[in-house]
Symmetry: C2
Subunit: 185 residues, 2 copies
């Protein structure tokens, strides 16, 4: 239910095409809400039908035409309404945790490589977030309300990745102790 609202927020920050939105959902907005281009196109069409967004066809030379979407007043109203109503806190979904518990009935040592792979992915994400923070929110900068809100969300992503890295180290230590492979890296 939040995808349309995430799109509204993104389009309010900056109008753009479905393709551009899909790229933003790989960065920025995607830090806390993911979507593929197929989902985005589908929802954009529905939002256009409902009058939440407006389209402007932008011809480009040497490239396919671009449909630039922007938020129409009813879309802005819909976003405000949604902001005012409560949403349930999401629960985590972590298939690696399922695997860890499943390892009791399989091969715990076999999970070490998988856990290390996850650790690398999260380390990369953290590095990306930290680079973004340095770039967009340098110390001693005067920030407006929107930037402060963006920054606090980014700090959430950073905290999440740091916590996850620590936990994965804990998992690795636990798996190594079980498997009798005492080499810590």
């Amino acid at each position: 239910m939040a995808l349309e609202h995430a799109i509204l927020v993104s389009l309010l920050e900056q109008p753009g095409s479905g393709y551009e939105l899909a790229r933003r959902f790989d960065r920025s907005i995607g830090y806390f809400w993911t979507a593929t281009h197929q989902q985005i196109y589908r929802v954009l069409r529905r939002m256009e039908r409902d009058g939440w967004v407006e389209v402007r066809d932008v011809p480009q030379d040497g490239r396919p035409d671009k449909k630039v979407y922007s938020v129409a007043p009813p879309g802005h109203t819909a976003l405000s309404d949604w902001l005012a109503e409560p949403v349930e806190p999401e629960s985590v979904r972590h298939s690696l945790a399922v695997k860890i518990r499943g390892a009791a009935f399989g091969d715990p040592a076999g999970l070490i490589a998988e856990t290390e792979r996850h650790r690398e992915v999260h380390a990369e994400r953290l590095a990306r977030y930290l680079a973004g923070e340095q770039r967009d929110f340098p110390e001693s900068a005067e920030l407006d309300a929107g930037q402060r809100l963006q920054h606090v969300v980014l700090r959430g992503g950073i905290a999440y990745e740091r916590m996850t890295l620590d936990w994965l180290d804990d998992v690795l230590a636990t798996l190594r102790r079980l498997g009798g492979a005492p080499e810590p890296h």
Copy 2:
């Protein structure tokens, strides 16, 4: 794709009915993978059809019959196969974060109550996890491999809730500073 494997893990830990599984998905397993009873019944029927689980009808007096499921050898094999193949790390989905960024185009102060509500939910979850830890993993206890793995997963849940609480405090401070409502708590 992980629901069937989460069910296999849960049934290996302890055979049970669809209803009992649904209750476990509200606790324990549900700390890192959620499912409603409708999903569970649907998947159980498919798993039974594929020979992954076996059913035993248990008549009960004064209550509806119970279908007690347990893992059959092909199910055990399927779980082992899944454990050996890589899964992609999940991305976070946090609609509150969407709201926070959306607040730049709405009413930031209006989000304070919502954020406090989320904070309470996470504080309760943390308390529940900590109580479970004290109950199931007391210090100085000898733990077998399965228990150690369960414990490290629970520690992940605890770390997640602690991190989230800290972040929500950060969010609240940010929102209060924006709104000019300097009352902390």
